[in-house]
C-alpha cells in the first residue's frame, strides 16, 4: 500500500455552513401551520418551537462552518445533508405535539421524510383524529419538497452564493434541467411561480366545487390540502380513506391536475407563456407520457369492467385515477385496490417503475429515461448487424450526448439495484419481526418508497398504514424515500472513497 493522502478533498465546513443557511431559512415555514393552529384555536407552540430549534441549529451550523463558497463537489454533500436536516426538522412538530400516533422519533421521521420527498405513505392509523394544524403541516411539507427546498432557496433568497446549476441539477427530478432562461436563479423563480399559480388554481377550483355544491365534502381546508398534495405528486390527504368520499367531479379534476403535475413544468411554462397550447404535443416525452397514461388507464378500466369489480363510468374513473395516481407517483386512491385481481395489481406495480416526465415533481425512473434506454437498446440491436454504423441517439431531434446516455443506463441499473436491496431488507426483516407480507407486498413496498409513490399493497394500502412495520423496515423505507427523491446518484456518489479524496 502506497502513501495515502489523509486530507479531505471536500470542503465540509463550507458545506456545513450552507446547510445551516438553508435550514435557517426553511425554519420560517413553521409560521404557516402555527397560523393555522391559531385560526383553529389549537396549540401553535409545537410549530414555533420546531421553527426555533431549526433556526438555532441553522445559525449554529453557519457559525461552525466557513462562509467560503462551495464548488461542484460540495454540492452533492449539501443536497444530501439538507434533505436529511429538513426531514429532521419536519419531524419536530409531530414529536412536540404529543400526538400518540407519531410520538416515536422513527415514526415521526418517516412521516416527515414521506412528506418532504412527496412520497405520501403514512405511519398514521387514524389520520382524521389529528389536529387541523398538524394535518396542514403534513400537506405543507409535500408542497415545499415537491419543487425542491434548494430550488426554492435559489428562487427566493437574494444572495445564495452557491454553484447554482450543480445544486439545481442534483435536486431537480429528471436527467437534466433545461434552463428556461440562462440564469439558474431566473429558471428557479419561473418554475416556482408556475408551481404556485397551478396550486392556487387547483385550490380555487375545489373551493368553488364546495361552495357551489358539486362536492359537499370539499371545504376550503380540503381544497388547499388537495392542491398542496397534487402538484408535488405527494399523496397525503387529511382523510382516512384518501379520495374515496369525494364527488366524482372532484376526482376527475384531481386526475387532470395529477397529469399536469407529472408533465415537464418547463414545457408547460413555455406553452402558457407563448400562448401555444399545441406546443407540448410536439415534445417526444409529452407524447409518450400521455400515451402511456391513457393506455394504463384504459387497461385498468377494462380489467375492472371485465372482472365485474366496477362498471361504466365508475370503471373508467377508478381505472384512470389509480393508474395515473400511481404512474405520476402521487399515491392518491379512490378505492382500496388491494382487493383487485392479480393482473390489475401487477399493472399498478409496473406503473410504479414508470414515473412522470423529466422536470416534473414526480419520482421513479421517469418516461424520458425509459425512452432513451429504449433508443439505446434499439441502436445496440442495429449495431449487432452493422457494427460500424454511427448512430447518434436523438431526443426531440437533438443529439443526446453519449455521457448522458451512459448516465441514464447507470441510473436505471442503480435504481433497480437499490430497489432489490430495499426489497431484500424488508423481506428479511418482516420475516423475522413481522408483519407477514406476501411477495407482492414486499415488492410494492420497496418500489413505492423508492419511487416516492406512497401507498403499497396489503396493510400499507392507500387507505391503510405503514405503522405495522418494525423500526428496521421503517428506517429502510425512510432511506429509500431519501434515495428516490435525490435520484440515487448523489447519495451513492457520497458513498465512494473517490468523492472524499483527491
Amino acid at each position: 500500500v502506497g502513501p495515502r493522502s489523509t486530507g479531505l478533498a471536500v470542503d465540509v465546513r463550507a458545506a456545513t455552513s450552507l446547510c445551516g443557511t438553508l435550514l435557517k431559512y426553511l425554519s420560517a415555514s413553521a409560521l404557516f401551520p402555527a397560523a393555522i393552529a391559531l385560526g383553529y384555536r389549537e396549540n401553535p407552540l409545537p410549530f414555533l418551537a420546531a421553527g426555533a430549534i431549526a433556526a438555532a441549529t441553522g445559525l449554529a451550523l453557519e457559525r461552525v462552518g466557513s462562509s467560503a463558497g462551495i464548488s461542484f463537489r460540495e454540492g452533492y454533500l449539501v443536497v444530501v445533508a439538507t434533505w436529511l436536516l429538513a426531514s429532521a426538522y419536519g419531524a419536530l412538530p409531530y414529536l412536540l405535539s404529543g400526538e400518540e400516533q407519531v410520538d416515536r422519533p422513527v415514526d415521526a421521521f418517516f412521516e416527515a421524510m414521506s412528506g418532504f420527498t412527496t412520497t405520501g405513505g403514512t405511519i398514521l392509523t387514524d389520520i382524521e383524529s389529528l389536529d387541523q394544524s398538524l394535518l396542514m403541516w403534513r400537506q405543507f411539507t409535500h408542497w415545499l419538497g415537491g419543487m425542491g427546498i434548494i430550488v426554492l432557496a435559489l428562487a427566493v433568497l437574494p444572495r445564495l452564493r452557491v454553484g447554482g446549476r450543480q445544486l439545481l441539477e442534483s435536486e431537480m427530478p429528471g436527467p437534466e434541467v433545461e434552463p428556461l432562461i440562462d440564469r439558474i436563479r431566473g429558471t428557479a423563480q419561473r418554475l416556482w411561480l408556475l408551481y404556485v399559480a397551478l396550486t392556487a388554481v387547483e385550490a380555487a377550483v375545489f373551493t368553488l366545487f364546495g361552495v357551489v355544491g358539486v362536492d359537499r365534502r370539499m371545504g376550503w381546508f380540503e381544497a388547499v390540502s388537495a392542491a398542496f398534495s397534487t402538484l408535488p405528486t405527494g399523496g397525503f390527504m387529511p382523510e382516512n380513506r384518501s379520495w374515496e368520499e369525494f364527488a366524482a367531479a372532484s376526482q376527475w379534476v384531481a386526475v387532470g391536475f395529477m397529469v399536469l403535475a407529472g408533465a415537464n413544468l418547463a414545457v408547460t411554462y413555455r406553452a402558457i407563456m407563448r400562448r401555444q397550447p399545441g406546443l407540448p404535443f410536439r415534445d417526444e416525452e409529452v407524447r409518450i407520457y400521455l400515451a402511456v397514461l391513457t393506455a394504463a388507464g384504459a387497461l385498468l378500466a377494462m380489467e375492472l369492467a371485465s372482472e365485474g369489480v366496477q362498471e361504466g363510468e365508475a370503471a373508467i374513473r377508478h381505472g384512470a385515477f389509480q393508474a395515473i395516481s400511481i404512474m405520476t407517483t402521487t399515491g392518491f386512491a379512490t378505492v382500496d385496490y388491494t382487493a383487485w385481481p392479480t393482473l390489475a395489481a401487477l399493472t399498478l406495480i409496473v406503473l410504479m417503475f414508470v414515473g412522470g416526465s423529466a422536470g416534473s415533481t414526480s419520482g421513479s425512473i421517469k418516461i424520458v429515461r425509459h425512452l432513451l434506454l429504449g433508443k439505446a437498446l434499439r441502436r445496440e440491436l442495429r449495431q449487432t448487424v452493422h457494427p460500424e454504423l454511427v448512430l447518434p441517439v436523438r431526443f426531440n431531434g437533438a443529439v443526446i450526448d453519449e455521457r448522458a446516455l451512459r448516465g441514464v443506463t447507470s441510473f436505471i441499473l442503480l435504481y433497480l439495484g437499490v430497489f432489490a436491496l430495499g426489497a431484500a431488507v424488508i423481506a428479511v426483516d418482516t420475516a423475522i419481526q413481522g408483519p407477514g407480507l406476501s411477495a407482492i407486498d414486499v415488492i410494492a413496498a420497496s418500489a413505492s418508497m423508492l419511487g416516492n409513490v406512497g401507498p403499497g399493497f396489503g396493510d400499507a394500502n392507500p387507505m391503510g398504514t405503514f405503522a405495522g412495520f418494525s423500526d428496521v423496515s421503517t428506517l429502510t423505507m425512510t432511506a429509500l424515500m431519501w434515495l428516490g427523491r435525490l435520484e440515487v446518484i448523489p447519495l451513492v456518489v457520497l458513498a465512494t472513497r473517490h468523492y472524499w479524496r483527491v
Partner: protein
C-alpha cells in the same frame, strides 16, 4: 476586360487558362515559383504580394479593375481581399471562393459585401449529383433553372439500335432533345441528318431533363433509377455530396474513418447512414453489401486512396464509380483503370468563376471535355443577324443552338422555328469560337 486574380493555385491556373486570351489579367500570389511558371505559360501580369494587404492590392493597381476574383484556398484571405477591393475599386464585380457554408448563407442573405460566392464543395457536389441523376452520363450541366440539361455520354456496344447505327434522320431520338456534337477521338462533328452514331463515340446532348433520362436508358439499357449511393469520405466535400443527393431523394451511405467527422456528419444528417470505417476492409465491404449500391463516390483526400477504394468497390460489383481528382494527373490514372466519371473540384470551381468574365449578356457557361467545348447561355441582341431567321436557314459557324428560353420557358427548336430578339439561347460551341458566337448573337 481587366481581371484581377488573387491566388495562383490550381483554381487560379485553370481560370488563367480560360481567360488569358480575351482579357487583361493580373495575378497576385505570395508564392513566386507558382507565379513564375504561370508567367512562362501565359501572357499575364504577375505580382508577388499578399492579397490580404490593402497596400499590396493598391500597389498592384486594383483600382481600375472590372472583375476581382479571390480564389486562394483560404476563405478568410479571399474575404478580406474582396472587401479591400470593394474599397479600392467600388465599381468592380467581386467574386470569392469559399468552403464555408456560413459565408454562403450570409451572402444569400445579402450580408456579405461581395457580388458572388463560389464554393468548391458545393459545385463538386452539384456536378456529382447531376451525373448520378443520369446514370449513363459522364458529365452533365443544367441551364435555365434546370429546364435544360447538357449531358455527355459514351456510346457502348450495348446501346439501343434505335439510335446507334442508323443515320440520324432515321434514328428515334427522344423528343425535346438535340445532339450537339458527336466526338470520336480528336475529331468532332456538329451532326447533320446523315451523320451516324457508332459505339465508342462520345455524344453531347442538349435537352429536357426527361429526355436526358431517356437517352440514359437508350445508351445504357438496364441502368435503373438510383436510390443507394455510397460516398467514401465524410469531409466537407463528402458531406456536401451527401446533402445534395439527399435533396434529390437518393439514399446515401457515407464511409468515414475519423470518429469525430463520422459523428459530426451523423449528427448533422440523420437520414444518412454513416459508417465509421476505412471502407478498405473486404470483410466490411462484404458485410455491409457495398457491392449492392448502384453508385459509389470517392471523395477522400488522397487520390491513391480513392483509386484503390474505387477499384475494390468495382471488384465487389458497384456498377458506377465516380471519383474526385485532386491532382490533375490522377484523372488519366482513374479513367485508365475503369472509373466511370472523374470530377476535379478545382476545375469545377474555376468553371464557375470563369462565368463571371463573359459578356454580361452571357448568364451561364459550362465546359466540356476539359476546356475544349463550352456551352453558353446568351440573350440575343435585337441587331443580331440571326434574329428573324428560321433555324434551317441559319449560317453555320461551328456552333449549335440547343434550346431557347422564351418568357422563362425552355423550347427545343425545330428546323422551321424562328429566333426572336430577346430570346435566351443555349449554345454549344468550341472554346476558341466563343468570342465570335458572342458577337453575332
Amino acid at each position: 476586360m481587366k481581371v484581377f486574380l488573387v491566388g495562383a493555385g490550381q483554381v487560379g491556373t485553370t481560370i488563367v487558362e480560360a481567360l488569358h486570351e480575351e482579357h487583361e489579367l493580373t495575378v497576385l500570389d505570395t508564392d513566386s515559383t507558382r507565379l513564375t511558371s504561370l508567367s512562362y505559360a501565359y501572357d499575364v501580369r504577375t505580382v508577388e504580394a499578399d492579397g490580404a494587404s490593402r497596400r499590396a492590392l493598391a500597389g498592384a493597381g486594383v483600382a481600375d479593375t472590372d472583375l476581382f476574383l479571390a480564389c486562394t484556398s483560404r476563405d478568410e484571405v479571399n474575404l478580406v481581399a474582396a472587401s479591400f477591393a470593394r474599397v479600392e475599386a467600388p465599381s468592380a464585380t467581386t467574386v470569392i471562393r469559399t468552403a464555408n457554408v456560413e459565408y454562403i448563407d450570409l451572402w444569400r442573405e445579402g450580408r456579405l459585401d461581395v457580388d458572388f460566392v463560389v464554393s468548391s464543395e458545393r459545385e463538386t457536389a452539384h456536378a456529382i449529383a447531376r451525373v448520378i441523376g443520369v446514370p449513363a452520363a459522364l458529365e452533365t450541366d443544367v441551364f435555365a433553372d434546370g429546364q435544360v440539361q447538357i449531358v455527355e455520354f459514351d456510346v457502348t456496344e450495348g446501346a439501343s439500335p434505335d439510335v446507334v447505327g442508323p443515320p440520324l434522320r432515321n434514328a428515334r431520338i427522344p423528343a425535346d432533345s438535340r445532339i450537339a456534337s458527336i466526338i470520336s477521338g480528336e475529331s468532332m462533328i456538329l451532326p447533320r441528318g446523315d451523320a451516324v452514331i457508332r459505339p465508342g463515340d462520345r455524344l453531347v446532348v442538349i435537352g429536357s431533363p426527361e429526355s436526358a433520362q431517356e437517352w440514359s436508358k437508350l445508351l445504357s439499357p438496364g441502368g435503373g433509377t438510383v436510390d443507394d449511393v455510397v460516398v467514401y469520405g465524410g469531409g466537407q466535400v463528402g458531406a456536401a455530396i451527401a446533402r445534395q443527393l439527399l435533396e434529390q431523394r437518393i439514399g446515401v451511405r457515407v464511409i468515414e474513418p475519423s470518429r469525430e467527422r463520422a459523428w459530426r456528419l451523423a449528427e448533422e444528417l440523420p437520414e444518412v447512414r454513416v459508417y465509421q470505417a476505412t471502407g478498405l476492409d473486404p470483410d466490411f465491404v462484404e458485410r455491409e453489401r457495398i457491392g449492392q449500391a448502384q453508385a459509389a463516390v470517392f471523395a477522400m483526400r488522397e487520390d491513391a486512396l480513392n483509386h484503390y477504394a474505387a477499384t475494390l468497390a468495382r471488384v465487389h460489383g458497384v456498377p458506377f464509380t465516380i471519383a474526385i481528382v485532386h491532382d490533375a494527373i490522377a484523372r488519366e490514372v482513374y479513367e485508365h483503370s475503369g472509373i466511370d466519371v472523374t470530377v476535379n473540384p478545382r476545375q469545377v470551381t474555376a468553371e464557375e468563376i470563369v462565368r463571371f468574365a463573359h459578356d454580361p449578356r452571357t448568364q451561364q457557361v459550362a465546359m466540356l471535355e476539359g476546356n475544349r467545348f463550352e456551352v453558353l447561355d446568351i440573350t440575343t441582341k435585337p441587331t443580331s443577324e440571326y434574329v428573324g431567321l428560321r433555324f434551317r436557314d441559319m449560317p453555320i459557324r461551328g456552333a449549335l443552338i440547343g434550346a431557347i428560353v422564351r418568357d422563362g420557358r425552355a423550347v427545343f427548336p425545330r428546323s422551321d422555328d424562328v429566333l426572336q430578339a430577346g430570346d435566351r439561347v443555349i449554345v454549344f460551341t468550341e472554346t476558341s469560337r466563343v468570342p465570335v458566337v458572342e458577337k453575332v448573337l
